[in-house]
């Protein structure tokens, strides 16, 4: 009986710990949480996280065969704000395809964010079903990518984001059959793009590190300069004080002399 009770107690304790652990939550990357973060601190990093959250949500909803209204558009706008205009345009077109009532709004958004792509409408979704174009997009987007901020988590999550951004595009455009030459060219371009991307990530990490080191060095130098300036200031003040004291002493001596002369007279 005692053993049984002990087992029950252990099982209950473990399940309680597991439940409490589950309840405590922690940070969850959902579009709403990321939007909340982006609104409170609109940086490139938070926009990036928002785009990734939208991509994940889009993947999940496509897998479930349910589309949330506005999801393609939100993802497209986030990408356009990050500079990926080609794929952003495709996402906005996909929104119109899924929800025709969004046509006017999407047109207004395109006018604002990508006026040069207004002509790329719904027909473009099918025409652009070409992996070569996708690879070009990958290549261009690496070049167009703005310098990442110094948040290490963002730099670490680049690969995940890359996959997350590419997958919905694949699901929109559908599979494509390529010739052997096209495949080879595509492979080469992808390899080139991969190399560039890796180089870019390496460079950005190095630049971020360098920036941090520079800022630390600058802060140290500023401290030293401030200390020296304060020392100089103190010395000058001391000299002035001594001078003032000497002057006062001389004045007193003069007055004493005058008084003694008067007395003598």
């Amino acid at each position: 009986m005692g053993v049984k009770k002990g087992c029950y107690a252990i099982v209950i304790a473990v399940s309680m710990v597991w439940l409490l652990g589950g309840c405590s939550g922690g940070y969850k990357s959902t579009p709403r949480n990321e939007m909340f973060a982006y609104q409170n601190r609109p940086t490139y990093g938070s926009l990036y996280a928002l785009a990734v959250a939208h991509a994940e949500r889009l993947n999940a909803s496509l897998a479930e065969d349910t589309l949330h209204p506005g999801l393609y558009a939100e993802y497209g706008i986030a990408l356009a704000m990050m500079g990926h205009k080609g794929v952003a345009c495709r996402m906005l077109n996909a929104e119109v395809a899924a929800f025709p009532e969004s046509r006017g709004m999407v047109r207004r958004i395109k006018e604002r964010l990508m006026p040069d792509m207004l002509a790329d409408t719904l027909a473009g979704v099918r025409d652009s079903a070409n992996l070569l174009q996708l690879a070009e997009w990958a290549y261009d987007s690496v070049r167009a990518l703005q310098p990442l901020p110094y948040i290490p988590s963002v730099i670490d999550s680049t690969d995940t984001a890359w996959i997350a951004i590419q997958t919905p595009v694949d699901s929109v455009t559908g599979p494509v059959r390529l010739t052997a030459n096209q495949k080879r060219e595509l492979l080469e371009q992808q390899q080139q793009a991969d190399k560039l991307r890796q180089q870019f990530v390496r460079d950005s990490i190095a630049a971020a590190k360098q920036a941090v080191q520079d800022s630390i060095a600058a802060a140290k130098q500023a401290k030293i300069d401030a200390r020296e300036a304060a020392k100089k200031q103190r010395k000058i003040a001391q000299k002035e004080k001594e001078k003032a004291r000497a002057d006062a002493r001389k004045e007193r001596q003069k007055q004493a002399k005058k008084r003694s002369q008067k007395k003598n007279k």
Binding site: S24, G25, Y27, N33, F36, R108
Partner: protein
């Protein structure tokens, strides 16, 4: 025993009658309350930027600036959480980023927009109704946060007010021995997941629940059913070719959209 059985059955019948009466009353009330929405049947609703009339403190200390930041965050949350209940009711609602882009192209302020002609929204953008949310004031009763919010849904075609609600909502909290608010587990989870302080989390959750409560009861959108079908078709870009053989066996060939075209 037989008497007991009869009593039980009478009770069950009475309960059923009460339930049917209650359901009937609710639907008539809803129909009367949202008669304009039933008449106009909007399908696209745009949530206009929040008009915030609540007072901010003059910044003299870090506490004041934290208080102001907390109110700003809660106002943003009020805007962010207004879309979900509408989407769940079958309306097409542009998301927060899209709404921000649309708002950036609008020269009129929220207050001007509320009283002016909105027909350009109907013609140019295909929006049937605009939801104006005005945050009137925030209060702290000592044992809870209070917020007063006004919701106005205006049709862009007729200009009529389809819904008008002024709500004062209070979220009570308990104080600990140091007279600080005790964290409710849900508020704490919100604060953890959004990396904000407890007071901000409590205010944000208050406005979120308020939005859900006020907007969940709207009638379903005109295209709610059709939207679901379209969404299904859009998420299944496949076409089938059926070949019926002489022995009446069916051969199905799946075609991708591009190949079909």
């Amino acid at each position: 025993m037989a008497i007991m059985g009869i009593k039980k059955s009478i009770c069950v019948v009475m309960l059923l009658v009460c339930a049917v009466a209650a359901v009937g009353c609710q639907s008539t009330k809803k129909q009367a309350h949202y008669s304009d929405i039933y008449k106009e049947q909007p399908s696209t609703i745009y949530v206009a930027p929040i008009v915030d009339h609540s007072l901010r403190r003059a910044v003299r200390s870090t506490e004041d600036s934290a208080y102001n930041a907390s109110l700003n965050t809660a106002a943003q949350q009020l805007f962010l959480t207004a879309t979900d209940p509408l989407v769940n009711n079958g309306y097409y609602v542009p998301g927060p980023l899209a709404s921000a882009q649309l708002a950036a192209t609008e020269a009129r302020t929220g207050r001007q927009l509320r009283n002016e002609n909105l027909s350009d929204y109907a013609h140019d953008l295909g929006i049937d109704a605009i939801l104006f949310i005005t945050l009137n004031r925030w209060g702290d009763a000592g044992d809870g946060w209070t917020v007063e919010v006004e919701y106005v849904l205006r049709s862009t075609t007729s200009g009529n007010e389809l819904m008008h609600a002024v709500v004062e909502a209070t979220k009570r909290y308990t104080l600990d021995f140091k007279k600080r608010p005790v964290a409710n587990p849900l508020d704490q989870a919100f604060a953890d997941s959004n990396r904000c302080d407890l007071a901000t989390a409590q205010r944000c959750r208050l406005v979120e629940v308020l939005n859900r409560y006020v907007l969940k009861d709207l009638p379903s959108g005109r295209h709610a059913r059709q939207q679901r079908t379209e969404r299904y078709i859009a998420s299944h870009p496949e076409f089938f070719t059926l070949r019926i053989q002489p022995d009446e066996s069916v051969e199905v060939v799946k075609n991708e959209l591009e190949l079909f075209d």
